[in-house]
């Protein structure tokens, strides 16, 4: 039934979803890694520690490969927006062209300075000059995430426009950027990108330590990345809570669908896990009393809108509950791993770098963090259905009517598979053939001072 006939809307959704799912892996890396490189280079210069400088160099080398894939898939999604959603882009062009435009500026800025940064390692007398080149890269990469999330926030909660009979009549370009969804979305996207990159880099060091390579370089890298990860984890949890409160106020249907909350009640319980029967009854779920009211409004007896009060053709799909629970499960595991590491670092320092279980946990945390990003996005995007612009345009009205969307879906799927395999091969080969120890020896880096 799903794919028996050619349905451009369905195929457009699948192709956009596929491109975004692939792009955000590289986009997340693109946003977070520059910050970690900057941290390492800063510490290296300040402490005059060559190990940290080498860390920045090695991370930057791998980063280029991911940037390349990020840039090309970003170009793909940029063009696909117009190719697959022409009617939507016509409306978006009127209302949110400004942040889209600013995003390309940020991208431009980052691209210029990344090129300079990579080719001027030993060019300036002062090491700080080279460090300052990272500032526009960090600003540019975070700003492009900022502006593109502003666009997405507008789609979730349009603002700054006047709508009459389904047509946009008046627009305030800057007002459209300040949608109610913007603050929570933007901060959540940025912090979780930093978090994920800290975990990804931590996993690489943990992997080497687990293989018995005990060089102090890896210990320094692990400590830097895990302490950063812990801080980002706390901040993303706080912002996550604010996102819940935002949903209750502006997108109650998304919150209700994700929590399977049907009747509008006060003292609403939160459902963990469980399955939904045909007639919308929750079975086997774990109910936590008052928790949903607290999540939504901060007080246990607050009233939370239920799905039954929302027209049925505006219900998001109810399976987003599973996505949300899965995501929170991943988050719980990451909290556990990061806290355990911090506890060891504080109490039994040597164990933090040698205990096999903690190292394995850190290696696991990296894919978990990436999966959390994917789940978070899928949950957020599917939870907005049936709207492409909430309250203004339905997804089915925005899609192309062209033929061949199905063929394009297969072609792009093939492209992403090939790109994924090649980039992973190139990256692993790059670091296997030139380990940190080899490079330290080749460069004649002295030291090895204790952590």
């Amino acid at each position: 039934m799903l794919l028996s006939s050619y349905d451009p809307v369905m195929y457009s959704r699948m192709l956009t979803g596929l491109t975004l799912a692939f792009h955000i892996i590289f986009a997340t890396i693109g946003v977070g890694i520059p910050l970690m490189i900057a941290l390492a280079e800063w510490i290296g210069i300040k402490r005059n520690d060559e190990h940290y400088l080498l860390m920045a160099r090695r991370w930057a080398r791998g980063f280029v490969i991911t940037v390349a894939v990020g840039v090309v898939t970003g170009t793909a999604i940029g063009l696909q927006l117009s190719l697959l959603w022409p009617s939507f882009m016509k409306v978006a062009g009127q209302s949110i062209a400004l942040p889209l435009f600013m995003e390309t500026f940020a991208f431009f800025f980052e691209a210029i300075f990344l090129g300079i940064y990579l080719y001027t390692w030993d060019r300036f007398k002062s090491r700080m000059t080279h460090f300052w080149l990272l500032v526009p890269i960090v600003i540019g990469s975070s700003a492009s995430a900022f502006f593109i999330t502003v666009v997405n926030a507008f789609m979730n909660a349009p603002a700054g426009i006047t709508v009459e009979d389904g047509k946009i009549t008046a627009i305030s370009p800057f007002g459209a950027m300040l949608s109610p969804a913007m603050p929570t979305k933007v901060s959540h996207v940025l912090v979780t990108a930093y978090l994920t990159c800290a975990f990804v880099l931590a996993a690489i060091s943990a992997w080497s330590l687990l293989k018995g390579r005990n060089h102090v370089y890896y210990k320094k890298a692990l400590k830097l990345t895990m302490v950063s990860a812990f801080i980002f984890l706390i901040s993303s949890a706080l912002i996550g809570d604010l996102s819940g409160k935002y949903l209750a106020k502006y997108q109650p249907e998304k919150l209700a669908a994700m929590e399977w909350h049907f009747e509008t009640t006060s003292e609403a319980p939160l459902v963990l896990g469980g399955i939904l029967t045909e007639d919308n009854e929750v079975k086997y779920g774990l109910k936590i009393p008052f928790a949903l009211s607290i999540l939504a409004h901060g007080v246990p007896n607050a009233e939370v809108t239920g799905l039954n009060d929302i027209p049925e053709d505006e219900h998001p799909p109810l399976y987003i509950h599973y996505l949300f629970d899965l995501k929170m499960g991943f988050v719980a595991m990451m909290v556990l791993i990061a806290s355990a590491f911090m506890l060891l670092l504080w109490r039994k320092r040597e164990l933090a770098f040698s205990n096999k279980w903690i190292l394995r946990g850190i290696i696991l945390a990296a894919p978990l963090a990436m999966l959390t990003i994917e789940h978070g996005w899928i949950f957020s995007e599917v939870g907005r259905q049936p709207w492409i612009l909430r309250g203004i345009m339905r997804t089915s009205e925005g899609a192309t009517v062209s033929d061949h969307v199905d063929t394009m879906l297969w072609v792009f799927a093939l492209l992403y598979i090939v790109l994924a395999i090649s980039s992973v091969t190139v990256l692993t080969r790059m670091f296997r053939s030139n380990s940190a120890e080899q490079e330290i020896e080749a460069k004649g880096i002295k030291g090895g001072d204790e952590q």
Binding site: V64, I65, V67, A68, V69, V71, V72, G74, T75, A76, G78, L79, Q80, S82, L83, L84, P86, S87, M89, A92, G93, Q94, A97, L98, L100, F101, M102, T104, F105, F107, F108, F109, A111, I112, F113, L114, G115, I116, L118, Y119, T120, D122, R123, A170, I171, S172, P173, T400, V401, S402, H404, V405, L415, L419, S422, S423, V426, R429, M430, N434
Partner: protein, 341 residues
């Protein structure tokens, strides 16, 4: 100047920027591959790599800038072109993706000079201009059908059978090779690399005549395809004459091996005059005959906001681009390979 004209001028300038930097890039990829199979890679590869490595990402941004700005200033273009271009646009995106990523895999990965990667890189560099140039062809009208209900359909077979579209493809291919070889001649000369210079100089001279011939061909093909546009182009005839004069000056300097920087400036002027002459004659149509720059132009507050942001953005970009060029284009020590990475 009205906001519409200002908007389209800004976008046209960016498209021109893309035309120049992308041509250098695409052509260099092709020459790099071609020199491998003819056994001259060791002669010219150093200069190509030294130029491309710091700038390869920037090239893409010009293109993204153009199409994002286009949708911002002229939202209706998203509807018409978006619907029509699904297949050619997707092909261009896939080629760009292959090219960009395999360039990075080859340059920064361990296994340099992977022949297969270089083939992907070189071949896609020639196919991308061909697929992107279809947008220009479509803008002349005749390849899109719009029904009474506003449904847009793209006449793919008509495009494939049209002489005009093939002359545009030919011009795109030939000019890419010409622009790139002219630039590399300048760059090799600055690097004091005689061996490389002699090779790329031959490429440049070899591609100069085909460039002018295919330009003429396009000129006549437009007459057959869109008489109205041809008529307006003859009204701007002086621009094409100046363009031809610039071409002669540029080639003369490469021929005599003197003042190659000036020569490349004249290459840019040659394409600048032709490109802006073509663009000016194309106005007011963005898509003949359905869409002019006055139809559904974005709202005034949005136009003002976009233009303000654009000016602020330029204040950031121009110094940054200047810094990039200072460090990698006009730094003699870097160009000659006397600086470590």
């Amino acid at each position: 100047m009205s906001y519409e004209v200002l908007g389209i001028t800004v976008l046209w300038i960016f498209l021109f920027g893309y035309l120049i930097v992308a041509s250098i890039d695409f052509g260099a990829g092709f020459f790099s591959y071609y020199s491998t199979i003819t056994g001259k890679r060791h002669v010219i590869n150093n200069i190509i790599e030294r130029y491309l490595s710091p700038v390869w990402e920037v090239t893409n941004v010009f293109l993204v800038f153009f199409f994002v700005g286009m949708v911002g200033f002229f939202p209706d273009t998203a509807y018409y072109y978006g619907t029509a271009l699904l297949v050619p646009g997707s092909i261009a995106v896939i080629l760009l993706a292959i090219r960009g990523s395999y360039y990075a895999f080859n340059t920064y990965g361990t296994n340099k000079n992977n022949r297969f990667y270089m083939l992907l890189y070189g071949a896609s560099g020639l196919l991308i201009p061909a697929s992107l140039s279809t947008v220009m062809t479509i803008s002349e009208g005749g390849y899109i059908e719009v029904s009474d209900s506003g449904q847009v359909s793209f006449l793919f077979s008509k495009l494939l059978q049209s002489t005009y579209s093939w002359t545009v493809v030919l011009l795109a291919l030939v000019s890419v090779l010409y622009i790139s070889a002219m630039f590399l001649s300048y760059y090799a000369n600055r690097a004091n690399d005689r061996g490389a210079f002699e090779v790329v100089r031959k490429y440049a001279l070899a591609w100069s005549a085909p460039t002018i011939l295919s330009s003429l061909l396009v000129f006549f093909a437009i007459r057959g395809h869109n008489a109205e546009h041809y008529q307006r182009m003859t009204e701007h005839a002086w621009m094409f004459v100046v363009s031809f004069a610039c071409f002669l000056i540029a080639v003369y300097h490469v021929w005599t091996r003197k003042r190659l920087g000036l020569s490349f400036i004249f290459v840019m002027l040659q394409f600048g005059f032709a490109f802006f002459g073509y663009g000016a004659a194309h106005l007011p149509y963005i898509l003949y005959p359905y869409l002019t720059i006055h139809d559904n132009f974005t709202s005034e507050p949005m136009a003002i906001a976009l233009i303000s942001v654009f000016i602020l953005g330029l204040l950031l970009l121009v110094p940054s681009l200047y810094l990039l060029m200072r460090l990698f284009l006009f730094d003699t020590k870097y160009v000659q390979g006397k600086r470590g990475k």
